[in-house]
Amino acid sequence: MERSEGNIKKKNPVLECRNVGRSFDSYDGKGKNEVLRGMNFEVYENEFLVLFGAGQCGKTTLLNILAGLDMPTEGEVYANGEKVSGPAPERGFVYQKTSLFPWMTVEDNVGFGPKVRHLPEKECKERIRKYLDLVGLTGFEKSYPSQLSGGMRQRVGIARAYANEPDIMFMDEPFGHLDAQTRYMMEEELQRIWQQEKRTVIFVTNNIEEALFLADRIILLTNCPTHIKQEYSITMQRPRDYVDPEFLRLRQLITDNMDLTL
């Protein structure tokens, strides 16, 4: 499926990041550790945006701020024109550790969002069925997370975020804990799921292959204090091939631009 630049509606951004900075008190309490500085970018409807950078560079901090789980010390984030002031079900989050509720079955995990928001029983059931089907886990409704493999748990995590039908999905290195084979498979699965149920996705990773395989646009981040170094529009046809010459060229280009010092 061809997705060119023109498919993305550039006019109305779903999420705007305005001059966002974040500092933490240093350990002795006297100074400040600046983690993020002057982040400015927009995310457009149904865009797959990848925030890419080396480990420990504050990507998770940035994602938490965008999602409303953490507050910036400078600047603002706007979602659909409104200032983000806390977590909200319009924004879904997929965690690296999956963070499934271990005492709940798969269906209770997926149905958690609709249920706490008091959607009608029938609607909850329908969403559980629909999104478990979307991630390919029909038949595992009554299982507990501890009975599933790593890849299956992350499928539940994705279904749980989808079940709230959010405008924006945040994914914090969701495949970081998986082994290489499962990771490739999950990347393909995520691409299939995203093409089937289009959402705006902001995806954090430190893996260049993963970034190139999934992204419409890659934002390259530098190390502390993190700021934007470069943006790349990826217009390759999907599904992408890891050994395609264009893929390898972009891989080389972006890796060369990476800031590997801490």
Binding site: G86, A88, F93, Y95, F101, W103, F112, V116, P145, S146
Partner: protein, 267 residues
């Protein structure tokens, strides 16, 4: 050695039971020999005599009642006190673990009461509650309530903040976060607390029954002491030990059932 590689006619489960029996039999033999052939015999009745008296106590009454009644009345006292301790302990523990304000109000008070041994309250409890069962409930309550509170508090403090964040992100309000995340995720800790507490409560029963009583396993021991009947003391001790063992096993079986999700730690 007990491990899965042992090439034996017995399964691991059978081996564990066999070793337990051997250990118990050895204990009884040593006890019997020491009591019969050393100077300790003056204070320690031999195992055979104690066990005979123990089994006889189910048919012949000690004081006015048989052993089953003594055990029953003591269990009833522990059960009532334990029930109160569970409700108050869980409420206090979860509250302190979840709310800073609650913690600031109750933690100092709790930490002050915690190290006081339950027996130290006996004189006061006689003044406050007289010689009724209420005083005994009070002592047993103090014997087990702290363990439940401390463990629940630990559990509520150790809730994965990411799970709470995930719940909020999915639209849960603070009340829902508390009842759907904080409370269930503390359940394994609460059970560990209940398990210690049930044994602690059962051991506090002896102290509680030192307060004027006419029945109960604690009374059996105290009565044995005041009449210089060492066999009766040992019979009481054996009864307490056996019931305590059964209680501990029952609670851990219950835990395995209710916390099945916790068997393997999910990532």
């Amino acid at each position: 050695m007990i491990d899965s590689t042992t090439n034996s006619r017995f399964t691991n489960k059978q081996l564990i039971i066999i070793y337990t029996i051997i250990s118990l039999v050895c204990l009884l033999i040593v006890w019997e020999l020491v009591a019969r052939f050393t100077s300790a015999s003056m204070f320690l009745p031999p195992a055979s005599e104690v066990l005979t008296a123990f089994f006889r106590s189910f048919a012949e009454p000690i004081g006015q009642h048989t052993m089953l009644f003594h055990v029953g009345i003591s269990l009833y006292r522990v059960a009532v006190a334990f029930l109160f301790a569970t409700v108050i302990g869980i409420a206090l523990g979860v509250g302190m673990g979840y709310s800073r304000l609650f913690e600031a109000i109750f933690k100092p008070l709790f930490e002050f009461i915690r190290p006081i041994p339950p027996l130290a309250w006996i004189p006061l409890s006689i003044l406050w509650f007289g010689l009724s069962d209420t005083g005994k409930f009070f002592i047993i309550f103090l014997g087990c309530f702290c363990f439940i509170t401390v463990n629940t508090y630990d559990g509520a403090k150790n809730v994965d903040p990411e799970l709470m964040g995930a719940a909020r992100m999915l639209g849960a309000n603070e009340r829902q976060v508390f009842f759907k995340i904080v409370l269930p995720s503390s359940v394994p800790y609460i059970f560990a607390g209940l398990q210690i507490a049930v044994t602690a409560g059962w051991s506090a029963v002896v102290g509680a029954e030192m307060i004027q009583s006419n029945e109960g396993v604690g009374w059996v021991i105290i009565r044995g002491m005041s009449t210089g009947n060492t066999v009766q003391i040992m019979v009481g001790i054996v009864a307490i030990g056996i019931v305590g063992f059964i209680l501990a096993n029952l609670t851990s079986a219950l835990e395995r059932r209710l916390c099945a999700w916790n068997a393997q730690k999910g990532i």
